[in-house]
Symmetry: C2
Subunit: 405 residues, 2 copies
């Protein structure tokens, strides 16, 4: 009998069991302060509200809410999303929106409908590992574009585009996280967003805009984080949103918004992927949005996460030795740390865990995995005192590694 | 600017917007008795129980249950599934089980991990449209095997296998629904199950066994519907189960069980598809199973659906004209009707809807869509009096179509 591995499809080569998970398991011991996962503050979850709302929904309408639902998603939820996007400058029709299992499913569907094996997808470098993995699953060729403080470096983009043009190739889309970028925390300047759209027009590619963190700004004006899609006159942008960071990730709800013809294909594809999103959980989100809870809650989250970011920045300032740099995000969940070049974040990892602190190594966020001295810290999950203590421990680990060397 | 359709991946050619959906929309008018969708009886949904259980779970453990969960699924739910499969003769380890978004996701993951474009997948003809669609999405070449009362016709299977052998090709897997087959209601004989496994050994292919209806037997002994996987000594069978038909389809929970190495790949793939199943909903199922509700509920469902099947068989006997044949399933949801050859089920459809009754046309269940005079009736959704009235209306429509002709 042939071994099971011999039967795998070629795309399985792109399915990496990850170094991160191995490290993650290593850090699962009591007493570890973890800045690793992109986990929202569990204290913020609407447990009480969800308990009451689900109870009342099931008693009123269980027969409908436990049945199969529409593959497109709950019409009322689509309208709520349409309205919320409108408030951020995006005009859409309901036919242009599909409810997904978190923003992650938007990544999967986008690659499924657009990417043939070998097609080029442009990605920021570093970028969100879950998206890179989704595109790799469809055998995309990932072209990494370096990040700078104001977002993706456009000079590099143009160079890559010209190289592709020379090969008579063109990218299927560019994937970007313009607001509170994962993992760097960067925000793409409005000027750069306009320029990016212009370049996309010139070279005729689509943009997949992941805005999972867009509601979590700390001190900016709304104007500064208007989505790229709000500037899009040509239906060139596919927008992905999520309720994971503003309600709960366990509920697995997000959305994709884009050209009607594309969203129709997403819908047809999703019917054979997971049939439909959970109608009961969609009704819960509708209720939380309609009764005003959601907006108030987002206001509270901004305050919570702002204080945590401040605590982490202050602690980094206090405890990190010379030669360590980090970003100062204006929202979202993440701070990106660059160690002195001679340090390797994966070699540092077990030493950090020994001191009971964990992070995510930076290497897998780069599509070519070329850079070893970066790491990502999430300030979202731990309260301020734990953040200070965790960064103190991490600072010690870094100092010791520097001395050893 | 290039049109969006010009940007689609080649696999989109396999994503059919379906005739069925068009017809389904046609039948969405008040007063229509629908035997179309594979919808469980909504009266049976555990609305009250779910309301109480979710309320208590959220108040006790909302911080965990609303957070990201494991991609593999809740360990307790996996143990419950392991035990339930054991009771049906299947021995597995927890490492061999993954929680999915309904059995549909098992179909998707299986094709994702095993099928390269052009690979052959053997399917029953007719077969479940959702599975055919999932395999087509990965550009599988579907080879249809005719069904007979005792399940798939093995002579045809051997012929197809020999033809493939002559091309030096071999199928990736055979997809089968041995218990209360969708759409025919057929049950594969135990003898045939053993023979099928032997043929799979000889020609060395895997079997994907979809057992979504296996708990819903009406008068058989458990022995008669032992899954193929219970006979599998070589880890040749990938088993897909579902809570859709025994609890609720809206909760989107099912599972895949198979060789550890394969399930590991399923897990890695699912991380970039939808990250994880909903932890809260998994905890709900754990509670319903642990407190004995689930088994009692399944007993009640068997009784409900048995009465509905009886009502539909009796009504067919009473109202159908000469020349119409149908199957007499021993469980599940479906009766398969063969009209006189000169009738086309899709031409009959608008006439049936005019008389306020709906069904699903048979054609798309055949991988080659070659047969036009069949249709599927679900007896699961409507109560007995509606079933009788609906079949009466359908009988009239058939009689009129026969006269017109």
């Amino acid at each position: 009998m042939k071994g099971i591995e011999e039967r795998f499809a070629r795309r399985v080569l792109g399915m990496k069991g990850s170094e991160i998970r191995r490290l993650f398991k290593m850090s699962m011991k009591p007493g570890v302060i973890s800045f690793a996962g992109g986990l929202p503050d569990p204290q913020s979850f609407p447990s009480e509200e969800a308990a009451e709302v689900l109870h009342s929904l099931l008693r009123q309408d269980g027969k409908t809410l436990l049945q199969y639902g529409s593959a497109r998603g709950d019409t009322r939820l689509i309208q709520i999303i349409q309205k919320r996007m409108h408030q951020r400058g995006i005009e859409t029709e309901p036919e242009e929106i599909l409810i997904t299992a978190g923003a992650q499913q938007a990544m999967d569907l986008c690659a499924r409908v657009l990417v043939d094996p070998g097609d080029t997808v442009l990605v920021e470098s570093p970028s969100f590992i879950g998206a890179l993995g989704a595109f790799r699953n469809y055998q995309a060729r990932l072209a990494g574009l370096p990040m700078e403080q104001s977002g993706v470096r456009l000079e590099s983009l143009i160079k890559v585009l010209k190289n592709l043009q020379a090969e008579a190739a063109s990218p299927k889309y560019l994937y970007t996280i313009p607001n509170f970028h994962n993992p760097t925390g960067a925000i793409m300047s409005q000027e750069k967003r306009r320029k990016l759209l212009k370049i996309a027009d010139e070279f005729d590619f689509l943009i997949l805009e992941d805005d999972a963190y867009g509601d979590l700004w700390f001190e900016l004006g709304q104007q500064e984080i208007l989505p790229i899609k709000s500037l899009d006159k040509q239906q060139r942008v596919i927008y992905a949103g999520s309720f994971s960071k503003i309600i709960s990730p366990g509920i697995r709800l997000g959305w994709a918004a884009g050209p009607k013809e594309l969203i129709e294909k997403f819908e047809i594809a999703r019917q054979v992927v997971d049939v439909c999103p959970n109608p009961l959980i969609q009704a819960l989100v509708v209720r939380l949005a309609e009764d005003g809870y959601l907006n108030q809650h987002i206001g509270e989250l901004r305050e919570t996460y702002r204080l945590r970011r401040d605590a982490m920045l202050a602690a980094l300032e206090t405890y990190m030795p010379e030669g360590v740099c980090w970003t100062a995000p204006k929202g979202g969940f993440y701070i990106w740390v660059t160690l002195p070049e001679k340090l390797d974040a994966s070699e540092l990892f077990p030493k950090a865990v020994e001191k009971n602190v964990a992070y995510v190594i930076g290497q897998p966020f780069y599509p070519d995995e070329s850079i070893k001295n970066t790491l990502r810290l999430s300030f979202s999950h731990e309260p301020e005192d734990m953040i200070e203590e965790g960064i103190r421990r991490l600072g010690e680990a870094v100092k010791e590694a520097l001395t050893e060397d």
